[in-house]
Symmetry: C2
Subunit: 274 residues, 2 copies
């Protein structure tokens, strides 16, 4: 397979959450083509073990390679936490996750050296944000909090609902008591309830969206490797291609509600064959 | 393989929910040995398509057959709705689901011929309860309502929390307006929030727990087929065996919180190999 600059970026997530990363890439690096895979048959990853997530990630990467991707973005915090480092060693194309870019920006943002991280159980238990942050500055204290109800609340569309505000108050209250001044939204679904999170934490806490930081890091990486596309994309035809392991119609509906372009087709594949 | 009366019952579910069915079988048919499989790597089934659920169910049944089960209970409403009828035709041992027993008892319970059914999106969309109920009495009106937040709320342990009461009020309010007098808890997690559901619907609505009705139907079926065990089980040794596709420790913890006996071991298997 020959890699050239017009080849697409491969992005994958356990389901629809990674679309917030795809959205930032479309907005910030509009020249790039995208192949997105959402593992909707096996979502959620957040409560699964490391070995299972590693196995699933390898299958997905084998699939993405069949689409001639020139680089891969792991648009899922759990997979970034559990699988990225091992997979990087098995690949000959660049791969980045959402954790490192988020961690780096949070380190730059904090003034009082107290950073909060919210995410799935798996992401928080992995301590991956803590590890990256303390590699940069060992004096920074990192407080993690798993928020398992946020994903189902987002998927129910209760983005600004009083119930979501109440649950957010409980989850985030603990972090506020620890006096954090920076909060990493360590799950790709969470930027969709950004305004509810903002309402609870107030204006003094800096919210870090790893999706945005990842798009910026990808842009720099493509330039550095001489892989950036120079050809503008218009969101039409096959410049953005979407694949899922189940329920393509439901995915398409969700995608169209958050992406800057309407998706024309989403294809379902049998990911276990890869 | 020879079937004899001391062989175990195979029970499967997408995860921990089916343990409410296992619990009713332990309580009501204490002579029977059990092999339980929870598909914790691929939970939840409630948002997946029919073909995916059929494929998963077939894999699980192939695994259960390796354990010499004499009968199978599909302890998952979604799999009962989408896969049971097709699978029955492929099997030479008895198989029952949770839907038919629940539907039958609801038909007996209703006075005003209005039955509500709550469950996952897949179960409600399948209209499987409606079909079974109207086969028995076409004059009965069935009102379905998907309650996608109930499972994550149960798994967060918020069984009687004000948030669960609030969400239950919204989901069930619609059904109460339709004047139902009987409500089928059409998801195996829901009996764990029975008291919250009772608080919302009041004393006048009959709550049907398909898990209990399924245990009673299984008991009758085993007698009828001459397959009932005469040997009492004590919950010790290998009379109850538990298998999962992921996160065995977490499963064991949940199981021990709801079963009448403590689980000694839960083994993890690779279900995709079956």
């Amino acid at each position: 397979m020959s890699i050239n600059n017009e080849n697409p970026i491969g992005i994958f997530d356990s389901g629809v959450g990674g679309l917030t990363v795809a959205r930032e890439i479309m907005r910030n690096i509009p020249n790039e083509r995208i192949v997105y895979f959402g593992d909707t048959a096996r979502v959620p990853y957040g409560s699964k073990s490391k070995n299972t997530i590693l196995k699933y990630s390898r299958q997905i990467i084998r699939f993405l390679r069949t689409q001639d991707v020139k680089a891969i973005v792991v648009a899922c915090n759990t997979a970034s936490a559990y699988a990225l480092e091992e997979i990087r060693q098995e690949l000959d194309i660049p791969i980045i996750g959402v954790v490192k870019p988020g961690a780096r920006v949070a380190c730059q943002a904090t003034r009082n050296k107290r950073i909060g991280v919210i995410g799935t159980e798996a992401t928080v238990n992995s301590q991956v944000y803590t590890t990256f942050i303390q590699k940069q500055n060992k004096d920074i204290q990192v407080v993690g909090k798993a928020c398992p109800l946020f994903v189902p609340l987002v998927e129910e569309g209760l983005l600004k609902d009083p119930v979501t505000v109440e649950i957010a108050g409980r989850y985030l209250g603990e972090l506020l008591e620890k006096d954090i001044d920076t909060l990493i939204m360590g799950c790709t679904h969470y930027p969709l309830i950004r305004s509810t999170i903002r309402q609870i934490v107030g204006e003094k806490v800096t919210l870090v969206n790893p999706a945005y930081e990842t798009a910026k890091e990808l842009e720099a990486l493509l330039r550095e490797k001489g892989l950036a596309s120079e050809k503008p994309q218009d969101g039409k035809g096959d410049c953005y291609r979407f694949f899922v392991s189940d329920a393509a119609d439901k995915f398409k509906q969700f995608a169209n509600s958050i992406l800057p372009y309407d998706i024309e087709t989403t294809r379902q594949i049998n990911i276990e064959e890869f």
